[in-house]
Amino acid sequence: MRPLLIGIIAALSFCQPLSAYIHFNITERGQSIAVKWQRMPLRWFARNSGVPGVTASDFQAAVLRAFGTWQALSTASISFQFAGFTGAEPFDDDGISVVGFQNNPGMDRVLGATGFVVDVITGEIIESDIFFNSAFPWSTATAGDPFRFDLESVAVHEIGHFLGLGHSALGETEVDATGDRRVLASGAVMFPISFGRGVTRDRELQPDDIVGASDLYPDGDFERDTGVVRGRVTRNGVGVLGAHVIAFNPETGHLIAAFTLTRNGDFEIAGLTPGPHIIRVEPLDDGDVGSFFDATDPIDIAFRVAFHDRLAVAPRGGAGDAISVVVQPK
């Protein structure tokens, strides 16, 4: 029997911060392996219980729409299948993927979370469950409810995790009078902090989300038709780990981002529309660094936001010359 890893590795908090697309990975014999499903369609069960304002049927319909949003991507090969209602709980290691409410008032900043059972040899996801915290008020109203969180929006985010996507740092936040972070704006549904009550805008994916899913489950000619920008971020001649690197295509208006993921400051942004891009590098200061990296990682956030002084060209079906971005200390 293969060794399996069970864990909750993704959560959405409404006031806890977190960053552009990133994939979950495991390391096996020194090699990084993407955590992903290897067979489609992905069968999921809905827990047969509702919460005030949301019946089990409302719940299933909203989550079905959220799964449909990801399945509709023309550049990704993703399909889901609703397998029925169940009395099983999310996060039971029962071999089925369950999506449902659970009451967890102790997680007072977490709207929802996604857990996995993963084959640690191959990276294959065996099972994934999603829970929505019924300690919060929920709504499935078409136009949203100003006093409740929009279930479909949060479900779209959690299903991104279900597929193997991590958080995106493409967003801006501010700290309010109580010390909590409030989202001013985001460039990805996979931004870790919810827009808040009544806002339904995250029912629709953004380019960063689409590229993330398409890079993980490419369909058709996605890899041939897109390009890669790669490079290195340094400060005082030393690689910067955890820098948030954004590629902006002035022709499409798309923002796609990634992180420097090595101590040399190396980054790679795949799935870009071929053409020149403006590269912007910023410290990871709109969220909790611990939401993206291990607490022991020496993440550098003590540098100034900067644009790279050259355009970075993403060639069709390949990678351009590596670029070198130098940032200045704060």
């Binding site: 801006e172 390009g227 022709e251 900067a306 351009g320």
Partner: protein
């Protein structure tokens, strides 16, 4: 207007001007290849502005500008070689190659987090090949030297970004006289 469209439009204008000039003579001898070489200026121009927008946190569909960009293409010398081959007194075929290396400039400004504004430039190698068929309308001759003509043709635009790693290409069709 995107970069490729803008540059293509400018090249078509230049190439067409060359073709018209070439037809100013009359009584072109048949079966003689005519070769021209020339130079010109690829006129610069604005390519538009695009904001890098995030999705604003509000119930209505507002955007949040992370930073602003504007792009333009600078003036550049343009080199042209043209070959024309009269099939008869009425029909002429011709082809032309145009090369230019314009500089594209992109400015990033008004960053929400205060990144210093910057203007980034890139030189593009641009080649344009086109072929045309001309019909000399001798019956509409104006005076002794001017012969109206009708022309139609197609061209191929190829752009190489710095590092020669990205090729952008496109077709251009033209008709006129």
């Amino acid at each position: 207007m995107n970069l490729q469209t803008a540059l293509a439009a400018m090249v078509v204008f230049t190439a067409s001007a060359g073709a018209i000039y070439a037809q100013a003579g009359v009584d072109r001898p048949v079966r003689r290849i005519e070769a021209d070489a020339g130079a010109g200026i690829l006129s610069g121009g604005g390519l538009g502005s695009t904001d890098a927008n995030l999705r604003r946190n509000d119930p209505v569909r507002q955007t949040f500008r992370l930073f602003a960009t504007s792009s333009d293409v600078g003036r550049a010398p343009l080199w042209l070689v043209r070959l024309a081959f009269p099939l008869s007194r009425r029909f002429v075929v011709e082809g032309a190659l145009t090369k230019a290396t314009p500089e594209v400039r992109v400015s990033a400004t008004s960053d929400f987090e205060g990144a210093p504004s910057i203007t980034i430039s890139e030189t593009i190698d641009q080649y344009f090949v086109d072929g045309s068929v001309l019909i000399m309308l001798d019956e509409l001759r104006i005076g002794s030297r001017a012969v109206p003509f009708a022309a139609a043709g197609a061209g191929y635009l190829r752009q190489l970004h710095e590092g020669q790693r990205l090729v952008e290409q496109g077709g251009v069709y033209h008709a006129g006289g």
